[in-house]
């Protein structure tokens, strides 16, 4: 067991005994969540008794069950382990199934904060996002639709990485501001060549074997969410084609790609529905057919940002 460290993640301070791939926070900072490393579970472990609030099947043999227990909450991952949260959501204990301890830190920077933020009534999106200056562009869509690949390409062209996978939003008047994520981009096996667009020192490998890029986290003010884009990669299309969705279409598409799902209670679904309706009213949502690579057109970043009305700032063509 290592001594705990403070990490800065999605605008929170997380104090964790397990090392996390996230920027360090001041050791004097008051943690929003303290994570302890618990004992390993037996291979026969099952979800605890209690009220099942959500059960999500990820469709690849993985899943999660959220249970309200007598003493708090349980996030049970049948392939990985369990994270038990106290009723006040201030403390968590992470327990690994045999041989799965290396995977727990990945859950602690992705799935666990996503559920935890939802339980706190926060607004989150399943999205990757990049920023130019004080404006952000988010990508939503199903797994494998190019969210991380686009974020990687745009960061190589000069954009700043806001987050990859979990986007925590902060409502401010009619706008939504974006909290900064881990600074890490996880590349799919067919996109590992994109790591070559960055200095070798930024390339790494995650505990589940994915190629990753560690980008310097931004310390600037939270960028305003300027647009949301649903990428549709196309190897046939030669020109980028963007279509702005109507409000109802936008709300429906946002509802189609939640970060956490499988709710068996009405209240979280109500909150999610209302959030996505407010987002659709406040932020333009585009469906964009994108000529896909590799190779990618060198002017793709400029075309893409221009199509959603963002000024290019320091954006340069792809190498």
């Amino acid at each position: 067991m290592s001594s705990p460290s403070n990490y800065r993640l999605y605008g929170l301070c997380i104090r964790s005994e397990l090392p996390l791939t996230a920027p360090a926070a001041a050791e004097t900072a008051a943690p929003d969540l303290t994570v302890l490393e618990g004992e390993d579970l037996p291979a026969s472990a099952a979800p605890p008794p209690g009220e099942v609030w959500a059960a999500a099947d990820f469709g690849n043999g993985f899943g999660v069950q959220l249970t309200r227990t007598a003493v708090g909450w349980s996030l049970f991952y049948p392939q990985t382990g369990e994270v038990r949260l106290t009723a006040d959501l201030r403390h968590a204990t992470a327990h690994a199934l045999p041989g799965k301890a290396a995977i727990l830190p990945l859950l602690l920077i992705g799935s666990v904060p996503a559920w935890w933020l939802n339980l706190r009534g926060e607004s989150i999106l399943h999205a990757s996002a990049v920023a130019i200056g004080n404006e952000a562009l988010a990508f939503i869509g199903a797994s494998g639709m190019g969210k991380s690949t686009l974020a990687t390409l745009l960061c190589s062209a000069g954009a700043g990485l806001v987050t990859d996978d979990v986007l925590r939003l902060k409502a401010e008047g009619d706008n939504f501001l974006c909290h900064w994520g881990t600074g890490e981009l996880r590349l799919r096996p067919n996109a590992t060549a994109l790591a070559e667009l960055f200095p070798p020192a930024q390339a790494s490998r995650s505990s589940d074997g994915r190629s990753t890029l560690l980008l310097a986290p931004s310390e600037t003010a939270l960028p305003r969410l300027r647009a949301i884009l649903i990428p549709q990669p196309s190897r046939e299309q030669r020109e980028l084609a963007a279509e702005r969705l109507t409000l109802v279409q936008a709300a429906f598409r946002l509802n189609g790609y939640p970060r956490v799902y499988g709710w068996q209670r009405d209240e979280p679904r109500r909150r999610q529905f209302e959030l996505f309706a407010r987002l659709a009213e406040s932020v333009p949502v585009f469906r964009m057919s994108i000529p896909w690579g590799p190779p990618f057109a060198s002017d793709l970043p400029g075309q893409l940002f221009s199509a959603v009305g963002m000024t290019l700032g320091e954006i340069h063509p792809l190498r």
Partner: protein
Amino acid sequence: MPEADPTEIRDDSTIALTPRQISCGLGAEAAILQLESGKYYSLNPVGARVWQLLASPQKVSALLAVLLGEYEVPADRCRADLLALLQKLHAAGLIEVRPA
């Protein structure tokens, strides 16, 4: 003589929203989530107006009178379109039909 179907939608039926849904207006349209099925529905501007009127239970004849006052449409066409919409909403579990 066969018994009347209590869920048949007639001019004197009263229509009420079911409690197991949430909705919101988006521009002139509306989006609805049916909480039992988890399905989403959208309504065009006229459908959204009907939905808005159903904020309190309404007789079909009253709905028809409002629509005929607001839209330039022949009465028989309006009635047919309204009944078709209400039947779809009922099949989706979004409204209850109370016989007269």
